[in-house]
């Protein structure tokens, strides 16, 4: 069953000579419980697709369906219970004056959870931070530690769909392995659906079944991870990307 269905999505910013067509005619769908990767050139519109799904792109056309329902206008609270996003930039996505405890506690409270204390501790353990980070502020954390707080925040409402924008690019490889294992476990246990951006093809290979390759706002190729492993890309840009990755 299709969880996320995107048809002919266009997203643009600005006017006149400053107009940017960030996404042009993107079409793909992700089945419930599947994991779909977005890779491609820096600036090609990967983050913009995720932002359009969460309602953070003001100007767009086309169709975005979540679990069969067309998304339009302001997203409602129920949407954010179902869909959560981990942003690319771990620095700006955390409020500088809120401690880790506040960030997680408030998210849990907003989504109507009661056993907040236990859950905060559990979330911090899940992302490999542990209780000693609970009362720290963002400026007291390293880049990778902040990213893990952001991941914990996204996991807090127990969403069904996770939009992950370079979730591990700020993490060292051992923490990356822990987080990827955690995401794989969550996916199998709870049938989560992932849409995941990464510049690292081996991360996409590990996590996803299918992926789209983007260049200059367009999806140039959708391929199975099996084909990726066998280096069987058809579009010249994906071939180039693959060749440069080994």
């Amino acid at each position: 069953m299709t969880m996320l269905d995107i048809q002919n999505l266009n997203v643009w910013f600005g006017h006149g000579r400053d107009r940017v067509d960030a996404v042009k005619g993107a079409t793909f769908s992700v089945d419930r419980g599947d994991s779909f990767g977005l890779v491609g050139e820096s600036g090609s519109g990967k983050s913009t697709i995720l932002r359009a799904v969460t309602g953070l792109a003001p100007d767009w056309s086309g169709s975005i369906k979540l679990d069969g329902t067309e998304l339009a206008g302001q997203r409602e609270k129920a949407f954010y219970k179902t869909v959560q996003m981990v942003f690319q930039d771990p620095y700006s996505s955390l409020h500088p004056r809120h401690s880790v405890d506040q960030v997680l506690g408030e998210t849990l409270y907003l989504h109507g959870f009661k056993d907040i204390d236990t859950r905060v501790v559990k979330l911090l353990d899940d992302v490999g931070l542990g209780g000693k980070f609970r009362f720290r502020y963002p400026h007291q954390l390293s880049g990778g530690q902040r990213q893990r707080v952001a991941i914990a925040r996204a996991l807090a409402p127990e969403p069904e769909v996770l939009l992950l924008d370079e979730p591990t690019s700020a993490l060292d490889v051992s923490v990356q392995a822990e987080i990827l294992n955690l995401l794989v476990d969550l996916r199998t246990e709870n049938k989560l659906t992932f849409l995941m951006v990464s510049h690292d093809l081996s991360v996409v290979g590990h996590m996803c079944e299918r992926l789209a390759v983007m260049k200059d706002g367009e999806i140039v190729e959708i391929m199975e991870v099996e084909a990726l492993r066998k280096m069987q890309a058809t579009h010249p840009y994906s071939q180039e990307l693959l060749a440069a990755s080994v």
Partner: protein, 284 residues
């Protein structure tokens, strides 16, 4: 030739619960080379870079027997003298690129201002130079980017803009903290070749902080491996894959591989002994 000599560097954060040592007695030298620093999240890589420039915010404290830039001890310099060092002689690309740009000023105005601070050039010359710099880091439509604000940039564009800006003063030393973590491989190569040229042609010293072990093995000359604020191992970059320390081995083994799919990735089993062993010196 030694550009930088760091001896017994400590970074401490006092708090109500006692003192947290983020960097514990690290020593290394930097020549006209590409020196990689790898290590897990929180191991003190960024703090080491920032401490060299004395950019640790209070209540953090930096101590060192010396941090010498061509024989001048930076620890002895006044805040005012340090400002000249930061602007001119040592540049740092921060891990949070967009954070380091001014959010209410266009990219173009910021690059032009930085360029004119270091070069006597007319506005239009500076504009042309700025376009060249953006082109050099593979930014598409640089004219539009010049008129844009930092929040309108993608993650990787922000990184590339910071790299372009930090190279303007023509520094003797560049400290690059995860400078390419958001870049696709082809753009990454372009950017690395720029840094590479500066080292080979102009004799710049480069400290390259990264999580990407394969990249560091490929690109750098020497690598420091940090754990819990200390250097646990130093090796030639091209020998990184034969590294001996169980921690380094653990890092190498936790990489996912396209050619060898697996269900679960290996995770590091930390040994308390690793953080007790004294820091290995990387001074030459």
């Amino acid at each position: 030739m030694t550009l930088l000599d760091v001896e017994n560097l400590w970074v401490k954060f006092p708090s109500r619960h006692g003192v947290f040592d983020a960097v514990r007695g690290v020593s290394f030298t930097l020549g006209q080379e590409r020196l990689g620093i790898v290590g897990e999240s929180g191991s003190g890589k960024s703090m080491t870079g920032r401490a060299i420039l004395r950019l640790i915010r209070p209540p953090g404290i930096v101590t060192a027997d010396q941090i010498s830039l061509e024989g001048e001890d930076l620890m002895q310099k006044s805040e005012r003298e340090m400002r000249d060092v930061r602007g001119q002689r040592i540049s740092m690309i921060m891990q949070d690129p967009k954070f380091s740009l001014n959010p209410v000023m266009t990219i173009g105005d910021q690059i032009i201002e930085a360029y004119r601070m270091h070069n006597s050039a007319s506005k239009s010359e500076a504009y042309k130079k700025s376009l060249d710099m953006l082109n050099a880091v593979s930014i598409r439509d640089p004219e539009r980017v010049m008129r844009a604000y930092p929040h309108e940039m993608s993650g990787g564009m922000g990184q590339r803009i910071m790299i372009a800006m930090m190279l303007i003063p023509n520094p003797q030393i560049l400290i690059a903290d995860e400078p390419t973590s958001a870049l696709d491989v082809s753009v990454q190569r372009q950017v690395l070749s720029i840094m590479d040229k500066l080292v080979t042609d102009r004799g710049m010293g480069l400290i390259f902080i990264s999580h990407d072990l394969n990249l560091v093995a490929d690109f750098c000359d020497r690598v420091l491996i940090m754990y819990a604020g200390r250097i646990v191992e130093v090796c030639d970059a091209d020998k990184l894959h034969d590294a001996q320390h169980p921690y380094t081995r653990g890092l190498l083994n936790s990489l996912p591989r396209l050619d060898a799919p697996c269900d679960r990735l290996e995770v590091l089993k930390r040994d308390p002994e690793w953080s007790k062993t004294p820091s290995v010196s990387a001074r030459i």
